[in-house]
């Protein structure tokens, strides 16, 4: 069983957490996420032009660059994480240019070597899959695809073709960390996606509180929290891991204890 399959096979929904690589003591922050009960880790690759991200993650990227973070550093962070945590799925999330700069094959092979389970690339839709998808498949790295409120029934089969790991439902048309979607619209979307795929469905964008997370966990297989965690890094600096562990624990308790309702 893959790490993804195991993470989503538990009796409760999975907590998927996002932080930006190189923003603060990333190794300690990742350990805090695991200690707090995160089931899947998304590690953001900073990019100079993060056009799908809101102010919180934009600022995290700038802090990471100020610390001199390189692609080699990010891969080293991933490798270190895998050495410490054998079972937690690790996803690299970011933009096309840093992922393809040295060639898609190079990137996919490095990810596989570092123990990365999956990739989320924000700006490579299935129409441009040949820029990255074949290399990931050849290296055995899952490509996690995004579905959004604008992904209609005609597009969905193509979005799912070649998708692996889990399906990430971006619950609002917008950038990260700002608006949150109405619960009813999330329930409707997850139900619709379930008729088309057997992949676990994780829901994200704008999820900030344990209460919101618990509501989503009642209908989805996973809940993604990012900007709220990244803001803790901004707020607490070197002391961030302790705060992140506490907050993660509250999210995990809410998500893991949420009672599933029939979707």
């Amino acid at each position: 069983m893959t790490r993804f399959a195991a993470a989503f096979a538990k009796s409760h929904a999975a907590l998927v957490t996002f932080v930006t690589a190189g923003d603060g003591d990333t190794a300690a922050i990742l350990d805090a996420l695991v200690a707090g009960g995160a089931d899947v880790i998304e590690l953001g690759m900073p990019f100079t032009d993060p056009m799908a991200d809101g102010p919180a993650i934009q600022a995290a990227n700038l802090r990471s660059f100020a610390a001199g973070t390189t692609t080699a550093d990010i891969l080293a962070i991933a490798k270190g994480f895998r050495a410490r945590h054998a079972d937690i799925p690790l996803v690299l999330m970011g933009y096309a240019n840093p992922m393809t700069r040295r060639g898609a094959d190079w990137f996919a092979a490095e990810c596989a070597k570092a123990g990365v389970d999956g990739i989320i690339c924000v700006d490579i839709p299935f129409e441009e899959d040949d820029s990255l998808g074949p290399a990931l498949r050849a290296a055995g790295v899952d490509q996690i695809r995004l579905a959004t409120p604008t992904t209609d029934a005609a597009r969905l089969p193509a979005v799912l073709d070649g998708a692996g790991g889990f399906l990430y439902y971006v619950s609002v048309a917008g950038i990260t960390g700002l608006q949150q979607a109405a619960q009813a619209s999330i329930e409707e979307a997850v139900a619709r996606l379930r008729t088309q795929t057997d992949l676990p469905i994780a829901v994200g964008f704008g999820v900030r509180t344990p209460e919101q997370a618990a509501n989503i966990a009642r209908v989805a297989d996973g809940v993604v929290v990012g900007s709220a965690l990244v803001e803790l890094v901004a707020q607490h600096g070197a002391d961030a891991p302790r705060h992140i562990e506490t907050f993660t624990r509250s999210l995990a308790a809410a998500i893991h204890g949420a009672k599933e309702i029939a979707a």
């Binding site: 056009m51 799908a52 390189t70 992922m99 490579i124 839709p125 409120p149 917008g174």
Partner: protein, 410 residues
């Protein structure tokens, strides 16, 4: 050089690719919108009423056709230092005489007609020098649509007259504080607005870049420049030009001039990038100093580091201050159909002043780069050779920048 296609004018392919360049590299949320736009554009291309309305507005609102002008005094000036029998004739395609003072309006007319066809009720745009912002604000006022313009805060400082123009025209101008606070950052912010307002908003991209079909449709709307120039020169001289020259930021004025001539093998073409402080220092010449990569919806040449992080561009001209280039130029360069060179800030400033004094025309800093290149190549060409330069914008907006660069208080 590899084998050439039968026509250089049949790009892009159905996926929006110009060779390996172009494409649709946008987030899933936006992809259905760019597909909608492509569908609507294909329908508009087959609709005679669309073409008629576009042409009518270009004639009576923009003031087209723009003149093709033989710059006799500049030609003579450059012949002074040329070898015997050398010193080509220099002609200007005078798109600086358009309503709003630049070529940008051609594209804005086309795109706002598309926005209306699609039932969109809100317009957004990015701007660098402010010429595209002014042109967008202008067409929004003309058609009564609300308009939000994203502009780098640094560009707002150096292009204050255009900021005020946009506000007079009823646009909301939002200063962008991220990154180097220039055109690239304005484009990021416009994309963020678009993804959050997908249902009612049309994004009028100002240059021949971005996700397919933007590079194609911007080129098509700007191709009026080259079509007119071709017909005008044939009528006046009975022949085609030997060389076309245009400045390149994203490259919309250049592709607009070049495209109708691409299948005329006798016509050479020269695109001029901004070399800023010099190609070994800070500059904005993505073909000369960049490598292929993916940004803002397309694959093209980008100024970037070994990790794929985008470098900050620099040019004295806010309109050229962008670390990428339209994908069709990337393709035309790689197949060798168009040559590309660059001009520094200083060379552009010198050319700016030369044109003021020899022709009584104050050019924008963007085409001043093209004129700088012409001062290099014209003296090497035969006297009966003809160069057409795209004078794509007027310099009123730049007088403060030029004064500062020359150390003059206004």
């Amino acid at each position: 050089m590899s084998t050439h296609p039968n026509s250089f004018r049949s790009q892009p392919d159905e996926r929006g690719h110009f060779g390996i360049f172009g494409g649709r590299f946008v987030a899933e949320t936006l992809l259905p919108l760019v597909l909608d736009l492509e569908r609507e554009y294909r329908a508009a291309q087959k609709d005679n009423a669309f073409a008629a309305e576009f042409d009518d507005l270009l004639t009576h609102y923009v003031g087209r056709p723009s003149p093709l002008y033989y710059a006799e005094r500049l030609t003579e000036e450059l012949r002074k230092d040329a070898p015997d029998g050398k010193g080509a004739q220099i002609w200007f395609k005078r798109d600086e005489l358009n309503h709003t003072g630049a070529h940008k309006i051609n594209n804005c007319i086309g795109q706002i007609l598309l926005a209306r066809r699609m039932g969109k009720t809100r317009i957004i745009a990015e701007t660098g020098a402010g010429q595209h912002g002014v042109a967008t604000a202008t067409v929004c006022a003309r058609f009564g649509l609300p308009c939000v313009i994203y502009m780098g805060a640094r560009d707002m400082e150096r292009q204050q007259p255009n900021v005020f123009r946009m506000k007079l025209l009823g646009a909301e101008v939002i200063g962008v504080e991220s990154g180097a606070r220039t055109l690239k950052d304005a484009m990021n912010e416009a994309l963020r607005d678009w993804v959050a307002n997908v249902h009612d908003t049309f994004y009028i991209i100002g240059t021949a870049a971005g996700p397919h079909p933007y590079p194609e449709l911007v080129r098509d709307f700007q191709s009026v420049i080259g079509k007119e120039a071709r017909a005008q020169l044939l009528e006046r001289t009975g022949r085609l030009p030997d060389l076309l020259v245009a400045a390149i930021g994203g490259g919309s004025n250049a592709i607009g001039l070049f495209h109708p001539f691409l299948d005329d093998p006798s016509v050479r073409m020269l695109g001029v990038e901004a070399a800023g402080h010099g190609l070994d220092k800070e500059h904005a010449a993505s073909l000369a100093g960049g490598a292929p990569g993916i940004l803002h919806g397309n694959r093209t040449y980008l100024l970037q580091d070994e990790d794929g992080q985008i470098d900050e561009a620099h040019s004295i001209s806010a309109g050229l201050d962008y670390p990428g280039i339209g994908p069709e130029h990337a393709w035309l360069r790689d197949i060798g159909r168009v040559e590309y060179t660059s001009a520094t800030d200083k060379e552009a400033l010198d050319a700016f002043q030369l044109l003021c004094r020899t022709e009584g025309i104050i050019p924008a800093l963007e085409p001043s780069h093209a004129i700088a290149a012409v001062t290099q190549v014209a003296p090497e060409m035969d006297r009966d050779a003809i160069i057409i330069v795209n004078l794509c914008g007027r310099g009123d907006k730049d007088i403060f920048t030029v004064a500062e660069a020359l150390g003059t208080q206004i």
